[in-house]
C-alpha cells in the first residue's frame, strides 16, 4: 500500500538516546490512517508534501521503526564537491586529483594558481569533472567566506573540505619574532578555523559533510625549530576533535592526518645530509609520495563513515 507524506521535520537539537539530528514525518495511507515515520538523511532535501512512497520496517539500535522511502521518479545524479586549500601543488594537488578521479567536482584554492595548479585543473576537466580555482588568503575570514560562497554558487554544493594549506617559518624559538610566530598560526591554525566555519553551514544544510585537516608529525612529538608550526598543527588536532564532537549530530565527520616525510618542496629543500638522516629513521626507508597521502584522504571522505575525531599518521612507521 502506498503512503503519502503529509508533514516532516528535522530535529536539530536531539534528545537522548539520539546524538544526531533526527528526521521524521507523518504519512497517511490510502485509507487516511496516519503514522509517524523515520526519514533517511539522503532523502530529506528532496521531500515535498504529498510525495508518495513506501514504508520500510527497520530494526535499529533504538528499536523497530517504520521508515518512509520516497518514490523517486527521476533520480538526479548529484556530483559532490570538494574544496582543497593550498592545492596548486604538492599534497594538496595530489588530493585534488585523487578526489576528482573518485567523481568529485573540485575547488582548488591557493594564493596564486601557478602552472602546476592550471595543469591540475586541465587534468580534472579532461577526466570529466568540473574544477575551478578560487584565490583566497585563508588567514583572512572575509576572503574565505567569499571563497566558499563562490564555490557553492558555481558548483552547487560543499561536501568535502580539506584544510591542507600551510606554511612554515623555521627557527629556534629564541630567534623567532612575534610576527613569524603569528604568521604561521594565522595560516595553519586560524586558516583551518576560517574555512571550517564558512563551510559548516552548507554541510549542515545539505545533511552532512567530511572535513580532513592536514596536521603534521610535529604536532605529535614537537620539532626543533618549529615552535610556531608545531603549536599550530597541534592546535589543528585539538580543533579536529572539537569539530568532530560538535558536528557529528549533523553527519559531519572531521579527522586529521599527520603526514611524515613526504616528497614535497618542503622536504626537497632539506640539506641532503639532513634528509638522508631522516629517511634512515623511517622503517620503510623512503619518503612518501603525495599520492599516497591523497589516497588516505580519499579513503576518509569516501569510506570512513565510522571514523571521526581521529588523528591518523601516515609516516611509514616513522612514528609508532
Amino acid at each position: 500500500m502506498k503512503s503519502k507524506l503529509i508533514s516532516y521535520t528535522d530535529v536539530t537539537v536531539p534528545t537522548p538516546p539520539y546524538k544526531k539530528s533526527t528526521k521524521s514525518g507523518i504519512v497517511e495511507d490510502e485509507k487516511g490512517k496516519r503514522q509517524l515515520v523515520g526519514i533517511d538523511d539522503e532523502h530529506y532535501n528532496i521531500l515535498k508534501i504529498g510525495m508518495e512512497g513506501r514504508i520500510e520496517k527497520r530494526v535499529t539500535d533504538f528499536g523497530e521503526f517504520n521508515f518512509f522511502v520516497p518514490e523517486i521518479k527521476e533520480k538526479k545524479e548529484v556530483s559532490k564537491v570538494a574544496l582543497i586549500t593550498g592545492a596548486t601543488r604538492g599534497i594538496g594537488k595530489a588530493i585534488a586529483l585523487e578526489l576528482a578521479r573518485k567523481g568529485f567536482n573540485i575547488v582548488i584554492n591557493d594564493l596564486e594558481l601557478q602552472d602546476e595548479g592550471a595543469e591540475a585543473i586541465n587534468e580534472i576537466k579532461k577526466g570529466g569533472r568540473e574544477a575551478i580555482f578560487i584565490k583566497a588568503d585563508i588567514s583572512k575570514y572575509e576572503e574565505v567566506e567569499k571563497m566558499v560562497k563562490e564555490a557553492v554558487e558555481k558548483l552547487g554544493r560543499m561536501d568535502v573540505l580539506v584544510n591542507n594549506a600551510g606554511i612554515n617559518i623555521d627557527r629556534l624559538l629564541i630567534n623567532m619574532t612575534p610576527e613569524q610566530w603569528q604568521k604561521v598560526i594565522d595560516v595553519d591554525l586560524t586558516g583551518t578555523y576560517n574555512c571550517t566555519k564558512a563551510a559548516l553551514p552548507h554541510m549542515m544544510q545539505q545533511g552532512g559533510g567530511r572535513i580532513v585537516n592536514v596536521s603534521s608529525m610535529s604536532a605529535l612529538d614537537g620539532a626543533i625549530g618549529q615552535a610556531n608550526y608545531a603549536a599550530a598543527k597541534g592546535g589543528v588536532v585539538s580543533l579536529t576533535k572539537t569539530i568532530a564532537m560538535e558536528y557529528a549530530q549533523y553527519n559531519i565527520l572531521c579527522n586529521a592526518i599527520a603526514p611524515g616525510c613526504i616528497r614535497t618542496r618542503m622536504t626537497d629543500a632539506m640539506p641532503p645530509g639532513m634528509l638522508r638522516e631522516r629517511v634512515s629513521q623511517i622503517p620503510l626507508g623512503r619518503r612518501g609520495e603525495p599520492e599516497e597521502v591523497a589516497k588516505l584522504v580519499v579513503f576518509l571522505v569516501t569510506e570512513g563513515n565510522y571514523i571521526t575525531g581521529q588523528l591518523i599518521n601516515i609516516s611509514a612507521g616513522e612514528y609508532i
Binding site: S7, T9, D10, V11, T12, P14, T15, S24, I49, F65
Partner: protein
C-alpha cells in the same frame, strides 16, 4: 457565586539566581502583601502549587513547602501538574474548591526553576511530555510543533513572514514589561535567519527557558479584600490525544476550542465580547492557530489578524501584551499563573507602561503538549 482574584505576586522571569524555595516565597509574600485590605494566613484554607517537572528544580514536596511559608497550620497544600497549563489547572482547582464550598480563600503559586541544566537536558525533560511514539522517533516538543505547523502551512495561508511578525510583536511588547525575560529588540530578518531548531521552527520562534514564579489569591468573598477584584467568569478544560497524528484535524487546536466553548458558555460571553487576549505562543507559528480555536478568527485565517494589525499592542484586539511565552518567558509551571496576573492588572488598569486602555473582558488560552490539554479562562472586572 463568582470567584474573584483579589491579589497577585510575581517574580521576574529569566535566568535567575534564586532557587525554587526563594521563588515560591517571593511570589507568595508578594501576593499576601498586595492584598489591599489585608488578610491573615488563617483565612487561607489551601495553597495549590503548580510545577511541571521536579527534575528541573530537584525540590519535591513543594506543596508542604508552600504551606510552611503560608504560616497557617490548619491549611493544606499540594502540587498539580498538567504540562504547560499546570498553572491554569491549579487555578481551575482552586476555583472549583471555592465554588463547592470546600474553601473560602485559596492561594495558587506556580513556579519553575529550569535553568539548572543546559538546553539539551531541559529539552529532554520537556520531551517526557510527548507521546511514547513521538519520543521513540526522537520528536522533541519543537519537533512535534514543527510537524503540526508544516501541516497547517501547507493547508492554509500563512507565511514565514507572518511567523516572524508575531515573534517581533511579542518581543516589542515585552519591552514594556519589567518582569519579562527578554528586553531585546529583534528584527524580522533576524527571526527569519535564526538557526533551525526543528525545521521549519527557528530559534527566534521558540519561547524561552525561564525561571520564575507567580501567584494569585482566589476568594469567595473578594470585596472583603479589595474594592476592585477581577472575577473568573468562566473556565473550561479539555483534552485531545497526546500525539497529533491521532487527532481528527491536527491543524486545529480542538482541545483549546472545546475549553473555550465551556468558558464562553459559563461566562455567558462570545468571542466578540473579548477585548484583550493572552495565548500560548510556546512557538510563535502556533499563535494564529490559538486565535482560531478561541473563535477570534475563522479556521485557517488566523494570520490575517497579524497582517491587519488587529493583534498588535495598539490594535483593536491586542494579543500577548505581556510579551507572551516568547519574550516574557515560559517558566512552565508559572506561565499561566503569570498570564492570569497580567490580565488581572490589565482589567484593573494597573499594568503600567503596557496598560491597554479601557479593557473589560479578557481571555486566556493555554495548552500543554501540542494541544493535548487546554484551559481557557474568561475574566472581567
Amino acid at each position: 457565586m463568582e470567584v474573584g482574584i483579589v491579589s497577585y505576586g510575581h517574580t521576574k522571569f529569566g535566568v535567575l539566581e534564586q532557587d525554587t524555595p526563594d521563588l515560591i516565597k517571593e511570589a507568595m509574600d508578594g501576593c499576601l502583601k498586595n492584598v489591599e485590605k489585608g488578610i491573615s494566613p488563617k483565612e487561607i484554607d489551601c495553597v495549590i502549587v503548580s510545577c511541571v517537572d521536579n527534575a528541573f528544580s530537584e525540590q519535591h514536596q513543594t506543596g508542604t513547602l508552600a504551606w510552611e511559608y503560608l504560616g497557617n497550620p490548619d491549611a493544606y497544600g499540594f502540587k498539580v501538574e498538567s504540562a504547560c497549563v499546570s498553572g491554569s489547572m491549579a487555578i481551575y482547582l482552586g476555583k472549583n474548591m471555592i465554588e463547592r464550598g470546600e474553601a473560602k480563600n485559596v492561594l495558587v503559586v506556580g513556579f519553575e526553576k529550569m535553568n539548572k541544566f543546559g538546553t539539551d537536558r531541559i529539552t529532554e525533560f520537556l520531551t517526557h511530555g510527548s507521546s511514547p511514539e513521538e519520543r521513540k522517533y526522537g520528536i522533541t516538543q519543537p519537533g512535534a510543533y514543527a510537524l503540526l505547523i508544516r501541516l497547517y502551512a501547507n493547508k492554509y495561508d500563512v507565511t514565514e513572514d507572518d511567523w516572524a511578525d508575531i515573534s517581533v510583536k511579542n518581543h516589542k511588547n515585552a519591552f514594556r514589561n519589567p518582569w519579562a525575560h527578554f528586553h531585546k529588540d529583534i528584527t524580522k530578518e533576524g527571526v527569519m535567519n535564526s538557526r533551525i531548531i526543528a525545521d521549519p521552527i527557528r530559534l527566534f520562534h521558540c519561547s524561552t527557558i525561564s525561571d520564575g514564579a507567580a501567584s494569585v489569591l482566589l476568594s469567595a468573598d473578594p470585596k472583603k479584600y479589595t474594592d476592585t477584584p477581577v472575577f473568573i467568569k468562566g473556565m473550561g478544560v479539555a483534552h485531545d490525544y497526546l500525539s497529533a497524528i491521532e487527532r481528527e484535524d491536527p491543524t486545529f487546536l480542538l482541545a483549546s476550542k472545546r475549553a473555550a466553548d465551556q468558558a464562553y458558555k459559563e461566562a455567558g460571553k462570545s468571542p466578540k465580547d473579548v477585548d484583550i487576549v493572552e495565548v500560548h505562543d510556546a512557538f510563535t507559528p502556533v499563535e494564529p492557530m490559538c486565535y482560531e480555536a478561541l473563535g477570534l478568527a475563522k479556521k485557517g485565517e488566523g494570520a490575517k489578524l497579524v497582517r491587519e494589525g488587529v493583534v498588535m499592542f495598539d490594535g483593536s484586539l491586542p494579543v500577548n501584551v505581556s510579551g507572551g511565552l516568547k519574550a516574557k518567558g515560559h517558566p512552565v509551571g508559572a506561565t499561566h499563573v503569570g498570564t492570569m496576573v497580567e490580565m488581572f492588572l490589565q482589567l484593573r488598569g494597573e499594568a503600567g507602561e503596557r496598560q491597554v486602555p479601557d479593557r473589560k473582558t479578557a481571555i486566556i488560552e493555554g495548552h500543554g503538549g501540542t494541544g493535548s490539554v487546554a484551559i481557557v479562562s474568561i475574566l472581567e472586572r
